[in-house]
Amino acid sequence: MTLRQPKKARATVTLDEELVGRVKRRVGARGVSAYLNNALRSELQHEAMREYLERTEREYGPIPQQVLDEVQRAIDEGFDRVDRLRSRHKSLSALVKPTATQKRRPLQDIERRTKAALEKALGTQVAVDAVSDTTLVVNIIEPTKGHRTA
């Protein structure tokens, strides 16, 4: 990660000897400035966020528990959908894993061949979208229910 790089200034500060020792053991003598820089950045951001939260609470009142619970759930589940999509892609890739020769073929060719193989195996129409030469998204077209993504 690259945060914006402002000019550096030299500062003389007095710190607990034991604390400096722990930081040096963790990052080495040359990494102390960067470590402290990051710690100060982090503290400044948290201070700004706390001030924002205090101001908005004064202006709009406290955040209802229902909203806090919903947001917590969204945070906890932030990875679930992406993980499901990833695993779906992975399992389909394994199912229709291209051979070494196929890897050299254009994606459109892989799509065409996979579509034909899946339609034959499933006995229903499918739409195949090759995300890469190892990842395919397959839409199973069920005559009565319409599209279902797999």
Binding site: Y52, L53, A74
Partner: protein, 149 residues
Amino acid sequence: MNGDYILDAGALGMLAEDNIQMRAMLLKISGRGGHVFVPAVVLAECLGDARHDPSYYRALKDIGGLDECVIDLGAEIARRAGSILKHSRSRETIDGLIVAAAESLGSETRIVTGDRVHLERLVTAAAVRLGVLELNALSKPPLKSGRPK
């Protein structure tokens, strides 16, 4: 678990409006010692209109200011964005840069967005595990929130 969060333009807009769900999220992040970042490209999406610029600048100040939260997008992030876009067969260049910026923060970084659908496709092509949060999708809060018009 990584406590880093990336905001896209929609999420930064929610912060600028003092959206109640965004407030709740910042409260959770702050409580966990997490950090919030904004990729520089998001500024390009949000800034430029004199009527709205002040609220965006204030939103950026609320999460530490430009120096504390804006991620510069160098050549490495641009290169990764290109790869992610190609693998996901997407042309959403800004979203690609956002996902690459999130990737640069490491595994388990979460992207807060106003539009999950576009991002999810790109995130599955990232080299590390990333999460996507769409605060817009949550139910409407029971109390009025947001900056008074």
